[in-house]
Symmetry: C2
Subunit: 290 residues, 2 copies
């Protein structure tokens, strides 16, 4: 019996095309505005993970002619609100888009975050108004990770059918991705930690998206022969960074796999920058077309 080879997704190659579009937008921005587009990255939690991701965004920004401002926010003394402090720094930076690193520390409420990142500067699509637009089916930015999965799925061009099983129910992955896919005529099942008989659900879908952070749980018994597996999970283990999928085990059974690292990750960073440029250009054009 011949061993079937799974098609291995290359996140770097895929994101190159996105980056080219972004670079085009950022050059157009420069031509119109006479300066580089400015992206403010606010980091209130300041975890070491945030620092790593922050650095990779700044590096990406440099390549794309985007000026990134990394704003560290210290915890305010006593009961003081961090709002005035952040707004002060933003006033100086005059950003064309804002990223607020998550998760938020306890001293910044979701309502504060919404105030700091208004809908028209919201690169991540997590302002409540933008979430409402997504819910209502209106055109809007959706969270980059969900968007990355969406773009990868759309690139499959129906070869794995239109049935998608998503193992994640958060507001940054499962929920927005489900709604975006439903809009595009996919039939979507949303699963989570409390799902009864998860295997039964995942093995029925032509496309499985998993984002649990449970290292390598998804083995070949979870998928049907020839299915596409989009792996959003990323966990640091003793043997290195791994995803939700048991890669060696599903190799051969899956028809398509996004590896970890090098799969959804780089696409997400590229999409984030593209989404930033999309809203930055939109505001510029709204002004020109007034």
């Amino acid at each position: 019996m011949a061993i079937t080879e799974s098609v291995l997704f290359d996140g770097k190659v895929f994101s190159r095309k996105i980056d080219e579009e972004t670079l085009g937008l950022s050059r157009r921005f420069y031509d119109i505005r006479g300066r580089k587009p400015r992206l403010a990255i606010i980091d209130p939690a300041q975890t070491s993970e945030n620092s790593i991701y922050g650095r990779s965004k700044i590096k990406k920004g440099e390549k794309l002619s985007i000026e990134c401002y990394y704003i560290r926010v210290p915890e305010p003394a006593g009961n003081k609100s961090p709002l005035a402090y952040i707004e002060n720094l933003l006033m100086e930076a005059e950003p064309d888009g804002i990223i607020m690193e998550r998760p938020l520390p306890p001293w910044i409420s979701e309502r504060d975050a919404t105030q700091i990142v208004p809908d028209y500067l919201d690169v991540e699509g997590i302002n409540l108004l933008n979430m409402g637009k997504n819910m209502a089916g209106e055109k809007t930015i959706i969270p980059a990770t969900a968007d990355a999965c969406l773009q990868i799925i759309e690139s499959l061009d129906g070869k794995f059918g239109k049935d998608v099983c998503i193992v994640n129910r958060t507001k940054v992955v499962g929920r927005p991705l489900a709604l975006a896919l439903i809009n595009r005529n996919y039939t979507v099942t949303v699963c989570h930690s409390q799902t009864v008989d998860l295997k039964e659900k995942t093995s029925r879908a032509g496309i499985v998206v998993t984002a649990t952070g449970k290292p390598e749980y998804l083995d070949s018994s979870y998928i049907s022969k020839g299915a596409a597996v989009i792996d959003v999970g990323i966990t640091r283990t003793e043997k290195g960074v791994v995803g939700d999928a048991n890669f060696p085990d599903i190799q051969g059974k899956a028809g398509f796999i996004t590896p970890v690292p090098g799969g959804v990750g780089p696409v997400t960073t590229s999409i984030l920058m593209k989404n930033f440029m999309t809203i930055a250009i939109k505001r510029l054009e709204d002004r020109l077309n007034y």
Copy 2:
């Protein structure tokens, strides 16, 4: 072989309990505020269907000590905006909640509607901010039809499992219901007109919610033995009002059925009034607790 009897849901009995709670809230409102709660129903489209539903809401309001204001909005002359006209009438009525009848006529945009019905007066949960809260998993009002289905499903108390298949992807039924159910640990599949092999999806779920408006399409071949069928469809035919389900055919195979009429419909009206009182009381208490 014995014929299995399907449990028939009684929407009138179910909604009686909801109405009692609403009446309690409206009396409490009167005690605190010294006047009855006021509900404004804005009807810009003025279809005959709207008139019928409008009358039933006013009748329901009378029973629940809620004052309903029915505001007919004529199409404005030329390019004039109807906003000022509606706001003028609302200023007089001073409502504690607003219902904007849908669908909107072409001369009222979704943005206008959002402006007329601010989030804190939004009885129907369709203001973009409230939709965003629903998306983000925050506590908020959800559209009454979705809420009615949710309450009925919750009343089944897990007897039909936790797998729900919803045949509808609109922002007033399928989407908010899916998110609300996911929040409550149900595993949800959202289907629609473009779903491939719909029967396969519906027949796998313990609970099927259908809201297509396709009269009597859902026959026994669509459901598994003993499944619960929540029928949101309502179509006027020559032989009377029917739902999405082929009632005689699924009788005996289904374990639980909501009939049409007399099922989801009356529950929806009751929920709408309860949701109105919930936001009216909330505003009152926010003021008292200032």
